[in-house]
């Protein structure tokens, strides 16, 4: 199976504080890899480097065998919730159509084919019936499905998700990841998702990468969940603390 994302010895710091220290891992084509780790572990920073929004101080990042700046194949990106001005009347269909931006031919006006592709993406995520509604009127879970549709409208081969279910209730989170798994299987998408939802992502991902400045563990979900590195990274309390009723 070919490799879609190759990260080698990547270093990055904010104001002289190293956030990433020699990070290296690979993402196989067609896989669902979850990037897990505590707050400040560098998950979002790493995704921003993969998107070309940040440049690493050292190391190399390749997506589809090309340096990030020179990538030719589109990447779909969904982050935490979009914060529009209250009541801004952009419709669900308009949000999905934004995903065609990178695909517009001169004179860069959306054509019928672009609108059809955006409509098909909405259909795929089960939001077609809401196409005419205001985006801001949807629930958080519905909004995230529309953002997935926006990403799909760009016909990506790789989907990057950055804490996409933050603020959603457990049922909406489970529905969201079930959709992502369906897309991975049916569309052949490669998925790399940064998330705090250990339980939910480990139930859906093929592989976990535990990040805490550097890669502490990587492998099948159960293997990473059982590793001592996980408890160390998240600073889980020892079981006897709870048993003794000690809140600290």
């Amino acid at each position: 199976m070919s490799v879609v994302v190759r990260v080698r010895d990547v270093w990055f710091s904010y104001e002289r504080e190293h956030v990433l220290r020699g990070v290296g891992f690979e993402v196989a084509q067609g896989s669902f890899t979850a990037l897990i780790g505590p707050n400040g572990a560098g998950k979002s920073t790493l995704l921003r480097i993969l998107l070309g929004l940040l440049s690493p101080e050292r190391g190399r990042v390749e997506v589809f065998d090309a340096d990030v700046g020179g990538r030719a194949r589109p990447i779909g990106y969904v982050a935490q919730r979009v914060r529009l001005p209250a009541g801004f009347p952009i419709s669900v269909a308009e949000v999905a159509l934004l995903g065609r931006y990178g695909r517009l031919a001169p004179p860069r006006r959306p054509r019928a084919a672009d609108r059809a592709r955006a409509a098909a993406a909405l259909e795929r995520v089960g939001m077609a019936e809401h196409a005419g509604r205001r985006f801001s009127a949807l629930s958080g879970g519905q909004q995230q499905r529309v953002l997935i549709a926006r990403a799909l409208a760009g016909d990506p081969d790789l989907l990057l998700l950055d804490e996409p279910t933050a603020g959603l209730d457990p049922a909406a989170r489970a529905r969201f990841y079930t959709l992502v798994c369906d897309l991975q299987r049916d569309e052949g998408l490669t998925v790399l998702c940064a998330s705090h939802d250990l339980e939910v992502v480990s139930a859906h991902a093929d592989r976990l990468v535990l990040l805490d400045g550097d890669v502490r563990a990587a492998g099948p979900p159960q293997e990473v969940l059982d590793s001592p590195a996980l408890a160390e990274a998240y600073a889980f309390p020892e079981p006897h603390d709870h048993e003794a009723g000690n809140p600290s």
Partner: protein, 268 residues
């Protein structure tokens, strides 16, 4: 009404006002989407400093105001982009500083104070035929830029990070939008004045937002309400001898409240 339109200066005011109202309404759409209302206030007051600078340097005030406003807009944008000081703090520093500079410079040129009132509060009825062509050119340029980059500005306003990831050149476009904002503000000073122009850059879009169900409808309502405010405001200004800027903004505000009422009735 026919008497009102018989006068040449009124005809020029209506044409100029319509052009500026159109570009302000389209720009207001992005001002609301990108939460730039306060930066509009900052730039409009900085423009007064630019007018004063022109007086002292012997440069046409519109030219000096445009150059000064664009410079202030870029500096505010640059400081905000670096992230060490927030955008509203940067505006809070530059807004009174540029205004104070204007007041200080104008105090050195007492004969100019009457004209300054025109820039502060607007006097579109004093627009000369040559002004119409200059303002028409500026409005056309603003509309051209906003129209050509509409999708990019929309994407950046909705989700800047995703837009950057999709290849939208966010930083150049940010400075381009700030430039258009500054130029439109300077062009609008004759119409509504520096004190009130920021309201004209928000209220039409807010009217559209209150009642419209899509961005296209919001833009349409914003343009229609801006043009209605210019026409109605100028007529009231002529009828009751009111300052043109104040009457235009008051009509614009009345349309906003009417839209809010209509939205409530329609259940939007």
């Amino acid at each position: 009404m026919s008497d009102f339109l018989d006068y040449g200066f009124v005809q020029r005011a209506v044409v100029t006002g319509a052009l500026i109202g159109l570009s302000c309404a389209v720009l207001a759409f992005f001002v609301v989407l990108r939460r730039m209302a306060f930066i509009g206030v900052g730039i409009s007051h900085a423009a007064v400093g630019g007018v004063a600078l022109g007086v002292v340097l012997g440069v046409p005030p519109v030219v000096s105001a445009a150059a000064f406003s664009v410079a202030v807009a870029w500096v505010i944008g640059w400081i905000a982009q670096r992230g060490r000081i927030s955008e509203d703090t940067a505006i809070g520093v530059f807004f009174p500083t540029a205004m104070a500079l204007g007041i200080a410079l104008i105090s050195l040129s007492p004969t100019y104070r009457q004209d300054l009132m025109g820039y502060l509060f607007g006097n579109i009825l004093s627009v000369r035929p040559s002004d119409v062509w200059i303002l028409a050119g500026l409005s056309a340029a603003s509309l051209g830029v906003l129209s050509w980059f509409f999708k990019e500005f929309l994407y950046l306003g909705v989700d800047e990070e995703a837009a950057r990831a999709a290849g939208v050149p966010a930083d150049p476009l940010r400075y381009l939008l700030l430039t258009v904002l500054a130029v439109t503000i300077v062009a609008s000073m004759k119409l509504v004045g520096a004190v009130l122009v920021s309201a004209f850059l928000v209220i039409p879009a807010a009217t559209g937002q209150a009642i419209a169900g899509s961005t296209r409808a919001m833009l349409g309502v914003a343009i229609a309400s801006a043009l209605a405010a210019v026409g109605g405001g100028l007529w009231l200004s002529w009828l009751w001898d009111l300052p043109s800027g104040a009457s235009i903004v008051l009509v614009s505000a009345a349309l906003f409240f009417a839209a809010l009422g209509a939205a409530r009735i329609l259940g939007r």
